[in-house]
Amino acid sequence: MSERATLLLELGTEEIPARMLPGAAADLARIVADVLDRAGIAHGEVEALWTPRRLAVRVRETAAASPVREETLTGPPARAAWDADGKPTRAAEGFARKHGVDASALERVETPRGEYAALRVRRGGEPVGEILARELPGPVARMSFPKTMRWGDGRFRFVRPVHWIVALHGEDVLPLELFGVRAGRETRGHRTLGPGPHGVPAADAWEDLLREAGVVVDPARRRERLVAALAEAASGAGGRIVEDPELLEEVADMVEFPGALAGAFDERFPRELPPEVLRTCLRHHQKAFLVAGDAGPLPAFAVAVNVPEDPEGHVRRGHEWVVSGRLEDALFFWREDRKRKLADRFEELAGVVFHRELGTFAEKARRVARLADLVGGGLGLPAGERDALDRAARLCRCDLVTGLVGEFPELQGVAGGLLARADGEEEEVATAIYHLYEPAGAEGDLPPTRVARLLGLADRLDTLAGGFAVGLVPSGSRDPFALRRAGLALVRLAEAEPDLDLAPVLREAVAGYAGGELGPDLRDRAEETVPRLAAFVLDRFGSIAERRGARYDEIAAVAALFGPDSLRIHDMFRRLAALAEIRGSEDFLALAAAAKRVRNILAQAREKGETIDPALAGTAPGTPGPERELLAAVEELERAAGGGDAGPGYAERLRAIARLRPVVDRFFDEILVFDPDETARRARLGLLARFAARAHEVADLAEIVVEGDREDASPR
């Protein structure tokens, strides 16, 4: 019973969509691990394994049963359980019957309340199979998928019909039933390489047995082998595949056997089609990789196949046929699209709706051009770049009405850039259009030129302002207008412009809608939209900062300084970096605690209606030493800060503030702020206000959370 062995559960199904596989296998593994853990069954590593036709969980070193423990169940008092002759009474018999034993099994036990009849029982020791049989069906049936289905008599619902279940503990079959299928030891192999059914002698033999049957069940190994197979196929075609990690992930989950082959297409295609279009076409329609040599794309592709070889060449010829047809279509669109200049398509944008309430893409292009010009002007962009920015803003959505983007929506931006270049637009303009959709979010490269970045920035500003104005504000998992992604991109694009303040441009972006032909509703909403939008941008800033390892209190300390009146993203990241740099010092943390204390004192003073006037600092007659010292120190900080950006950097300023610690400590140790004398009190409050202004200069230090720090620290 106590023997440990590998536990295996395999759900054999019809082909599960690749996009759902990893999540489903992970869910199943979690369910099995939960059941084991709740039952106290010891086990080792839990692995989620899968192919399109199976979800599996393998748990190493799993105990055969739940742990055994002895329990004593107390019954009636001894004197009521046995009569004078020592024979069990009816009370004793009733108690024994309830627990399914004979009264002779009852024992006498001493308890603090006296002697009682009792039964010693062994609890636990339940075989792992019985536990799983009872506990698994519920949660497995409730597993969530983007889409589920019924089949056959319609009794069950799952992602695809379930046909076999292997459930083994070591060599033993577990008595499970799921989806009306009894578990056994029979699995199936690859449909043609080794269909089976195959009897699995033991859980540990399963993976090797399936490999013999043409199935690689470990997804990591399958991907690894597929990479090698694709590389070999591509090298056979004289090149290597153009990497595409997402596509690799997907195709590795569409095969049970990781095979690959290369095919060829006509040399016209790489000669006439831009590599981006070639690659997108292959990927989009055929999930194929483009093969390239040192000098660029070759007339060849590589594709994952579910077979080890192609003895008669059917598989290669089939793919070549489809690929050629698709490339022919792409070439047709590319040629057709080039018959008209991108600029000549602008009119048509008036027929493409951006959003029902927000008008067409033609209107959007005009707003974006205006915003871009405002931003560019404000940043002193040279005239040539300003013109390029304006031109790009007007042209950047024209590719929406091209055949190429109609066929391959994922080429928007890229297609526009390529067509602009082919039209003879300035390189600066073409590049900006090409990179319009970058960065994709919190990660991904920024556009390579300043004009492109400013174009992206103006575009995102406009999208966000419009989205917020009509109430498409993201909440929970709902974000129909992808505003979070737009916000992340906006923050990253703004970070690249040290002199940019987003606050006034946010206001302009909202005004861009309110001033247009859009309804009065939108105008009414404009005022309240700006602060909400600023808060949203601050949130995106926080989410990027967090990804980069910033602590939430540091983010809050910086964000506290910004809002609808000032949103200098680049500056915010610099402040954050300074905080992170200085954070380790003990003086700094102590000072942060003091800053919080000062904040509370000032809040309390305000509540009491006290006068807080920085000019009154040091004006009381007979100012004591510690107070004078603090004033002198604050004055020195104020002189240093006077230098603005040319003065000391943020980290240096924070260090200077941190150096005040002994002075501040002494002040609080020896000085009573709320002195009964009004003049003294006002002077001290004025001093603290000036100190607070310094402590608030780089970041709101009162937001920094110090270990053992309490929010309600009361002023003395």
């Binding site: 019809e14 289905m149 077979v307 793919h319």
Partner: protein, 302 residues
């Protein structure tokens, strides 16, 4: 030319194969439809709990797909071989693969895969879960477990297999133009076969011209209204519902819609609206069928 398999041999092989597996081998529906699913023997028999098995070849008209006979793959009318098995049997994938073998396709030298592709028919108020079956990267079949039909959530689940006959025939015979595929072996005909083009090319040219250029938009709109009104009348008529003729009017409306669509007669909103009107007819027919306790013994179509 000595083809491996002609189009008519494929149809005969599939009919024999599914006949042996208990299917009623039916004939194509004698009306214009866009897909085999619209055949009443699929639409109505998918409803309710009674078992059903049927197989037939259905010419399917898709006006917008017409290419004047100039495209090697796309045509106004193509032939679908359609099989419905209800309830879906556990070994349906194996049966499907065996049916390919019956057409001379050896799965051991091909890469046959089931790739996610969920089906939906907004005019039938129907949807299902399943795959497109690809052979060596080429889509050759649709494989669908119906979940909803005529707006009704199904309890007993039918599975529908739809073979793209022309594509498979092109594949088997390594032919790259649909009009070259062998329809029949014929020593009396040039080349020893009657090619698809000999039967279909002229019709493709003319149907494309009709659907894209010549069809009278106003007249089609009028006929759409008539079909819709008749369907309603037949469903509500005393002594009714007369749901088979009513459903046929819905099929008519659907085809008229497709022609108008190919003519580019709609705005996006109007298009959605008309689709909704056809769907409401389909749904009403399905509800009437179930309300009448149909689905057993009686003949649905003719």
């Amino acid at each position: 030319m000595n083809p491996k398999m002609t189009l008519q041999e494929m149809i005969a092989a599939l009919s024999a194969f599914w006949s042996e597996r208990g299917c009623v081998v039916h004939q194509p529906y004698d009306m214009e439809v866009g897909a085999g699913t619209m055949h009443p023997e699929t639409f109505f028999r998918s409803l309710g709990d009674d078992p059903w098995r049927v197989a037939y070849c259905q010419p399917s008209r898709r006006p917008a797909d017409g290419r004047y006979g100039e495209n090697p793959m796309r045509v106004y009318k193509h032939f679908q071989y359609q099989v419905v098995l209800k309830p879906s049997p556990a070994d349906v994938q194996d049966l499907y693969l065996a049916s390919l073998e019956a057409m001379g396709i050896d799965p051991r030298v091909h890469d046959i895969r089931f790739e996610e592709d969920n089906w939906e028919s907004p005019t039938l108020g129907a949807s299902g879960v399943g795959w497109q079956v690809t052979m060596d990267g080429m889509e050759i079949s649709q494989f669908t477990y119906f979940q909803v039909m005529g707006g009704v959530d199904l309890r007993v689940i039918p599975v529908e297999l739809t073979y793209g006959l022309e594509r498979i025939c092109m594949f088997i015979n390594d032919i790259r133009n649909i009009f070259d595929i062998p329809w029949a072996r014929a020593d009396w005909h040039e080349g020893g076969i009657v090619p698809y083009g000999a039967l279909r090319l002229r019709a493709e040219r003319e149907q494309s011209a009709w659907c894209f250029r010549l069809a009278d938009v106003d007249e089609h709109r009028r006929q759409f209204e008539v079909a819709e009104r008749e369907a309603r009348r037949l469903l509500e008529a005393e002594g009714g519902p007369y749901l088979v003729p009513a459903y046929e009017r819905a099929l008519e409306a659907s085809h008229l819609f497709n022609v108008l669509d190919a003519r580019g007669a709609f705005s996006v909103t109007e298009r959605q609206e008309l689709i909704g009107r056809i769907r409401r007819l389909s749904v009403a027919c399905a509800k009437a069928w179930l309300a009448a306790g149909e689905g057993r013994d009686e003949e649905a179509g003719s």
